[in-house]
Symmetry: C2
Amino acid sequence: MSEPKTAEIVLSLEIDDPALADRLAALLGNVAGLRLAAPGETAAATVVARDPRSMPEDIALTQRELDVLALMAEGGSNKMIARQLGISVHTVKFHVGSLLDKLDATGRTDAVAHAARRGVIEL
Amino acid sequence: MSEPKTAEIVLSLEIDDPALADRLAALLGNVAGLRLAAPGETAAATVVARDPRSMPEDIALTQRELDVLALMAEGGSNKMIARQLGISVHTVKFHVGSLLDKLDATGRTDAVAHAARRGVIEL
DNA sequence: GCTTGTCCTGGCCACCCGGCCAGTTTCGCA
DNA sequence: TGCGAAACTGGCCGGGTGGCCAGGACAAGC
């Protein structure tokens, strides 16, 4: 049957820019061994290009705020973060407050979610 | 100058599976109009395929738990979630407790982080 | 010198959170 | 018909959280 020993690789596209999406679809559609995924089909890999306009620039966080933010993302309480960084709980609460301001968040959970969305931290 | 009116599209690869990465690199390397990114180069789009072995299967969360989880990720408090879902705060706390158990988290922030890592929710 | 920014600390307090106990209803399945 | 799972509700309470007030140390830059 001469079955293809290496099946076609199914690719899906997640491109914000319509022009780029078109060009990529045209280019990739003609590659032997490749196939673009049908709607809803599970792809082996995905081509992604998120709109960079949605992240104007990194929010200006101080080093200490990044320290606290990272430990917050690990689920650490103020007390645990204080111990970890060798500072007082009050200071941790101070930095958390600054983070809530800068990240426009209503609480620590929201702050971590926003930071992750903007790529400030990696989950 | 005959500059190409459509410049080459630069693609980067982020593939966990080495075999798939090789096949894709070989296929995409020969496409006219496409070029694979050099290390460190900013690409117009990225081909991603995360290792599916890292998520054996979705953790068994009930529909209600997913509802609560989604609102938690938005930074909602128990009270706000209760209003949103039209249930009592006690019930929200009940579901949050189940989520902390199933997600092996120490608090709601940790739960959201874990859920995001495992792909249960999208930030 | 003076201001600005970052980092640090303290107290106070209303509120929220998570864990514990208890119970109800509804549903599907054996 | 009984039984478990899921969803829902209540009270109670210790500890955590976030907002507010106040202050000090220290380096960079005008």
